[in-house]
Symmetry: D2
Subunit: 148 residues, 4 copies
C-alpha cells in the first residue's frame, strides 16, 4: 500500500481500494446495485429489479436500467486510478423484463487515450438475453484517485 | 369522461388521467421525482438531489440525473394517449451540482410521426443553468393508454 | 430468380439481388465505397480515404468516415429483405489516419425485433486499429425489397 | 491582422481567416457544401442534394446529410480559434426529401467549457421542415488555429 502520509501527499489508491471506494457509491447502494468484479477498464455489476423500479407501464424503468449500466461504466473507467467522469452516454433499450429479474451490466473498454475513454455496457439477464446496450464517453482528468 | 364499461371495452385515458397514472410511477416516486406539468408532447418534472443520489466522487450520480430526464421523457411522449416506449436516449452531462440542488427536467417534442417521436430533455437548476441535455427516441404502439 | 410478372406482383429480391442493388448505391459509389460482403444482418465495406475526403485540419472528414459506416449499416439491415431505414446513429471518432488509408466498416446485428434493429459498425484500418465506432437503430417497414 | 512572422511564431487566425480556412475544406467542397455564416460557436451551411447523394432506396443518403451537419459542427466549434475535434455525434433522421432539395444545417452551441463543447445541428429545408437533428461533442485542444 502506497502511503505518503509522512510528506503530506495524499496516497494514491490501489485497485482494491478503488473497488472499496466504488462499492460505497451512495446511489448505487440505495438501489441495491452490487459491484461484482473490477479490473482496469472492466467491471461487472448486478441489480435485481424491484417493484419500486418499475415505470407506470409496469416495466423496468429506463432510469433503473441506466443506473446499473452507469455504475458499471463509472467503475470501469475509474479503475485505472485516474479521476474519470462521464461526458455522455447513449443507451438502447432492447427488451423488457418483469420485476424480480436479476440484471447484470458488464463494462468493457472499447478505446482509451490519455484523456478520453469509450466504454461499452451490456445489460443482460442471468441467461445472457440482452436487455440494454450503452456506450459511454469518459473524460479522464489529470488528477489521481487518492485516499484524501 | 369516456366510459365504455357497459360494453366491456377498457376506457381510453384523458390527459388528466394520464397525468395521474404517470404521477404514480413507482421508480419516479421512490426517488422523489415530481411531475409538475403535462401536456401532449410536453412535460416538466423536478427532483432534489439527495445525499443518497451522489456517486463515489461525491457528485450527483448520472443515473439519478438520467432518471429525472427519463421520467419527463416518458410523461411527454405518453401524453398523446398512445402507449409509447423508449428506444434509445443519449445524455450529455454538462455540469455537476452539490447535493441538495433542485433539478428540473423539461421535455419538448422535436418531431413526431405515427410511430416515432423525438424528444429533447433539458435538465437545469432553478436559475436555468444547464446540467444535462438528452434526446430520446420513442416508439409509439398502436395501443392506447386505458383504464384497464 | 423469383418472377411474378404474370400476376403483376413485383418479385421479392434474393440476397444476391439485394447485394447488387446495394452495390449500385449512388452516394457510396461516388465516394468509392465498396461492398465487400453481405449476409442477413451483416456486411463489410471498404473505402480508401482520398485527399478530397480530408477536412480543413487535414484529417479524414467525419462525414466520410460516417458515410462508410452508414453504407455498411444500410446494407446489413436491408439484407433481411425488408425495407429498413435509419432512425438514428451515434458515431464515436477514435483515431485519425492520413489520406491514403484504406478503411473497413463491419456491420453486425446487436438486436432485431419485428420493427427495430440495432447495429454496431466498427471502422478499422487494414491492421485492425479502431478508427470509429457507431451504433445505428433501424426501423423495419412491412414492405419488402422488390424488383419494381 | 496578427503577424508574428518576424519572431518566427505562427500567427493566430482571425475569425475571417478561420472562415476562409473552413471554406476550403476539401470534403465539404467535393460535395458542394457551402459555409454561409460563421461566428464563435455558430455556423450555417447549405447543400443541394444531388442525384449522386441518394442511397439505394432513392432517398438522400444518411452520409450526405451527416456530412452537411458535421461541416457546420466543425465550423462552429473551431470558430473560437482553438483547434477542436469531434469526439462523437448522434444524428436523428426525421424526414426524407427528394433529390434537388436544398438543405441547411445550423450549428449552435449548447454548452462549452475549456475542453468540451456540445453543439446542436438542425438540418432543415428552405421552409424550415426538420430533416435531421444532431448533437456533437467537441474536444478543444490547447493549440490555436494558426497560419502555419
Amino acid at each position: 500500500m502506497k502511503d505518503d502520509a509522512r510528506n503530506g501527499e495524499p496516497s494514491v489508491l490501489t485497485l482494491a481500494q478503488i473497488q472499496e471506494r466504488v462499492s460505497r457509491d451512495p446511489f448505487a447502494n440505495s438501489l441495491g446495485i452490487e459491484l461484482l468484479e473490477l479490473r482496469e477498464g472492466y467491471s461487472r455489476a448486478a441489480l435485481t429489479v424491484g417493484e419500486n423500479m418499475l415505470n407506470f407501464h409496469g416495466l423496468p424503468h429506463g432510469g433503473a436500467i441506466f443506473s446499473l449500466a452507469d455504475a458499471a461504466f463509472g467503475a470501469a473507467c475509474n479503475a485505472h486510478g485516474q479521476v474519470s467522469v462521464a461526458l455522455n452516454v447513449t443507451i438502447h433499450f432492447l427488451a423488457a423484463m418483469p420485476a424480480g429479474t436479476r440484471l447484470y451490466a458488464e463494462a468493457t473498454e472499447e478505446s482509451r487515450t490519455r484523456r478520453i475513454g469509450l466504454y461499452r455496457m451490456a445489460v443482460t439477464t442471468e441467461d445472457g438475453a440482452l436487455v440494454a446496450l450503452c456506450h459511454g464517453t469518459a473524460y479522464c482528468r489529470d488528477e489521481l484517485l487518492t485516499a484524501a
